[in-house]
Amino acid sequence: MAVTKIKDQTPPHTTDAKQAAPGLTPAPNGAHVAVKGLSHSYRKADGLVLDNMTFDIHPGEVIALLGRSGCGKSTLLHMLAGLTHPSEGEVVINGNVVEHPSPKWVMMFQAPSLYPWMTVAQNAGLGLKFTRRSYEIAKRVPEVLELVDLAAFADRNAQELSGGQQQRVALARSLAPRPEMLLLDEPFSALDAFTRRSLQQDVRKIAKDLGLTLVIVTHDVGEAVRMADRVLVLRANPGRIAEDTKIALSDAERSGGTEAFGREHTRLMGLYADVAERSDPAVDNDFTRLPE
């Protein structure tokens, strides 16, 4: 993982060419998500992991679920993806109750989990193959690989790529079936800082360009500030929404280093620390470390 290809480090504003990628079909408008009275416990004897959560995610919005481990943010994301069923309540996407996983809302995980016996292009085309749209692969896969800057790697084995490149392939794989929403479960936490930042910016840009709804689970305040339009700060035991706040930054300000970025980062860090303290005062809440 330590070896990062130069490609990963290219800041997105220098690769504007992909905005005009040839034949890029715009995705449908992003999904509208309504979470209604969602509660969950893994076993009845254990306490609630999620306690009566209700919120809306607007189409095309980038939302971060921010919280410390154990606050149920991953569980919530799995429910939005249809991979876990809530004990109570429901998730409604574009008017339909979520019961199963669907290629319309695709989840990305911390590990890219590419299939090592396949090429980059074969990996990227899997979602289309599984949903009986193999006839689209020839056209769509080059499109999405272009979008993540990996067109030149189409025929390489997935194992030959760096960690950041593999996560880009996973992104292409998620985008190929034209989803309405991407769900990201700390997808960049295994990457080095440079690669992580360029992917954070690229993913936000791609989501905005395609009009996708984007939900990111993270415990990294910097990541939330860089990527999200809106942040839900979760508290633990049981998981509840403690704060719902907008990040008022332009795309240029999000790259970090600006005064506005620092202000938003400090504000969100304060909220995060407050919430953590409220949910468990016994835990050491030293949030004085500097933002990355």
Partner: protein, 277 residues
């Protein structure tokens, strides 16, 4: 797993050191090994030939054997006696694979089934395949059927256990990703599980092949009148020791070739790069 059949590592390094041969080293060492084996055989032949008690068996020596082998190759006898044996091993392995792979996948995927099946399977595995012989003879109408059954009984276990082990080592994230992308159970099987375990299945088949080839010859001592085992028995009865030894050489060479072929297949299907599996 496959390395146990090769003489390598410290064994090859002790004693004297060979000149550096670069890429030819493997070939040179292989030829050296064959040469040493032939020499031992020749020495053994000399001892037998010069012994008052054993000189009747002098045809076991390399020269008469290889002369006879050449003649058998030329007149088609080698092909005639190997054909039925290869067919029996092929069919036995086929049935063992058809049963072993699906059952292996099931016990690899289902913990409960594995717990239930473990003791009976380990028990059955430890029974020498040849001890099924009387039952096989009663159960099957033909000798051929009985032999194929015995080979299948010997071959099914390595395939089954290797498949189950491969399934257990599948990264759970691969299944989650597939489900997330809309895969149905058939997609899971053919796009994820089978490619992921291909090498384990083939390694199992390679081990099974070794066992099957070993079981074949004694199994062919049974009523059949064709095959390598029959040829050995027949040569013994007719006191043609050069033919007997030549048949042994044929058995060894075919077994070696089949194992090398399986090794090549494994290499082809192995998707692991740059790290141990």
């Amino acid at each position: 797993m496959s390395d146990v059949t090769q003489l390598s590592g410290p064994m090859a390094r002790t004693g004297f050191s060979l000149p550096k041969l670069g890429r030819l080293r493997g070939l040179a060492n292989g030829l050296l090994g064959v040469g040493l084996l032939l020499m031992l055989w020749w020495i053994g032949g000399r001892i037998v030939e010069t012994s008052d008690d054993l000189f009747a068996f002098a045809d076991f020596a390399p020269a008469p054997t290889l002369t006879r082998l050449w003649a058998m190759l030329m007149d088609g006898e080698v092909v005639a006696m190997s054909g039925p044996s290869l067919r029996r091993v092929g069919l036995g392995l086929f049935y063992a694979t058809v049963i072993g792979v699906p059952v292996g996948i099931m016990i690899g995927r289902m913990k409960r089934l594995n717990e239930v099946a473990n003791v009976p399977f380990q028990f059955l595995r430890m029974i020498s395949p040849l001890s099924w012989m009387p039952i096989a003879v009663m159960a099957f109408a033909t000798w051929d059927g009985a032999i194929i059954f015995l080979i299948g009984m010997a071959a099914v276990w390595p395939i089954l256990f290797s498949t189950a082990g491969g399934v257990r080592r599948i990264d759970p994230a691969w299944l989650k990703v597939a489900r997330n992308l809309g895969a149905n159970p058939l997609h899971m099987l053919f796009s994820v599980i089978l490619p992921a375990i291909a090498v384990d299945v083939l390694s199992g088949i390679r081990l099974a092949l070794g066992v099957a080839w070993v079981v074949l010859v004694p199994a062919e001592y049974l009523g059949v009148t064709s095959g390598l085992g029959y040829a050995i028995n027949d040569a013994r009865d007719t006191l043609e020791y050069d033919r007997l030894a030549a048949t042994v050489v044929v058995i060894g060479i075919i077994g070696f070739a089949l194992d090398a072929l399986a090794g090549q297949l494994i290499k082809k299907f192995n998707w692991v790069r740059s790290e141990g599996h």
